[in-house]
């Protein structure tokens, strides 16, 4: 299982046409919403939709949603861990109907992963290594690295920059405005 930032994960799902992917997440609604948002952005030039389907509505609802989707869509099916072995086997049997169709992401919990693999072996081999866990912090700005580059580039310390800002001695330069923002002292910009 590979950890991916949400933007990178969305690209991974979106840029492989017809792919099926497993996303391991403990049903965190916020992450799901953020992933849907990133997917919608990733596919917007195709005119497709990034839709969320709740597996708690049953396997028939899941299959119906997949049947109604288009190749340019992405279907996020969450709460897969709520489906039992019989439902997994139905999905396993039906998988070929959806070959070349929408990109699909099955969202399940870590504890339910083994059951899915066991109950749906053909689907599982189709998925292959496309098993990811979303890491919302991955791919985001490394603030400390950025601050370190500002210190190295100017020879100043965070404390010196704040002191100069407070006394009105800090030059009006985008570099220092950025520095203050990163230190959460944006109120000192332009002071």
């Amino acid at each position: 299982m590979i950890a991916r930032g949400l933007g990178e994960l969305a690209d991974d799902i979106a840029l492989t046409s017809g792919s099926w992917t497993v996303v391991v997440s403990d049903a965190d609604g916020q992450i799901l919403d953020a992933l849907q948002d990133e997917l919608a952005f990733a596919i917007e030039s195709e005119g497709g939709n990034a839709m969320i389907v709740d597996a708690r509505e049953g396997i028939h609802a899941v299959i119906k949603a997949l049947s109604q989707s288009k190749p340019e869509d992405v279907v996020l099916i969450h709460h897969m861990e709520k489906l039992g072995a019989a439902a997994h086997r139905q999905l396993d049997s039906a998988r070929t109907w959806f070959e070349g169709g929408a990109r699909v992401a099955l969202v399940t919990t870590a504890s339910a992963l083994a059951a899915l693999a066991s109950d749906a072996p053909h689907l599982w081999s189709w998925i292959g290594s496309r098993v990811f866990s979303p890491d919302p912090s991955a791919g985001t700005l490394d603030v400390e690295a950025r601050l370190a580059s500002l210190r190295e580039g100017t020879g100043l310390t965070d404390e010196e920059v704040i002191r100069r800002a407070e006394t009105g001695e800090l030059p009006l330069d985008p570099i220092y405005a950025e520095w203050l923002l990163l230190l959460n002292r944006g109120e000192l910009i332009g002071s």
């Binding site: 690295a145 950025r146 580059s149 950025e178 959460n184 109120e187 332009g190």
Partner: protein
């Protein structure tokens, strides 16, 4: 009309110019409907760069654009930048965007504040480094503050020199107008006006 040709007069006229430049800024600087939030502005910049890679104007792909353009939001404001570190030394090993046609490369950072139901861009620097001739051009917008009145160069341009004395006033531009320069600007054509109508065109690199 008696003109004051001392630095006092120059600074006064520069400040008048800066006021006109600020007054004509594109509405994208102040957040229109589409770019009303920092996140939407970030997405719009990503779209521009992704399309530029799709159209083979820039090297890279959707994936590299997403990886290279960073975004951070704080209660007071936000910043959109290329890479995790600021490239003080113009190191091509650090994240940047590179033009396919002539290998010129660039990076940028822009900073803004969050206002009620919109954002406002308050500072930026966009720098393009040409391969041939080897020089850089950078468009800077300093953050607001009274010190800008002392030199009248809040929005300015550096042509191949970081020396503050070598800066000249520049238009206040939206991120997309600046990206247009980064992607499509400063491309040698081989035509040199001063050589006259009968002059043989110089081959562009």
């Amino acid at each position: 009309m008696a003109l004051d040709v001392s630095m006092h007069g120059v600074i006064q006229r520069r400040n008048d110019l800066q006021a006109r430049l600020w007054g004509t800024r594109h509405r994208a600087m102040s957040g229109n409907h589409r770019n009303a939030t920092a996140k939407e502005l970030h997405r719009e910049i990503l779209r521009y760069l992704i399309k530029a890679t799709d159209q083979r104007l820039l090297e890279g792909s959707q994936t590299t654009v997403r990886a290279n353009v960073k975004f951070i939001e704080r209660p007071s404001g936000f910043e959109i930048m290329v890479g995790d570190v600021r490239n003080f030394h113009r190191d091509p090993a650090l994240p940047h965007f590179r033009r396919k046609r002539d290998q010129a490369w660039f990076d940028f950072q822009l900073l803004g504040v969050k206002k009620e139901r919109r954002i406002e861009i308050e500072a930026y620097d966009f720098e393009l480094r040409l391969a041939k001739p080897e020089l850089f051009i950078r468009f800077d917008l300093n953050p607001p503050g009274h010190e800008n009145d002392e030199h009248g160069l809040r929005s300015h341009m550096h042509l191949d020199s970081d020396d503050d004395g070598m800066a000249v006033p520049a238009p206040v531009m939206s991120p997309f107008e600046l990206l247009d320069i980064m992607v499509h600007g400063l491309i040698q054509t081989g035509r040199q006006r001063h050589r006259g109508a009968l002059a043989v065109p110089v081959e562009p690199p």
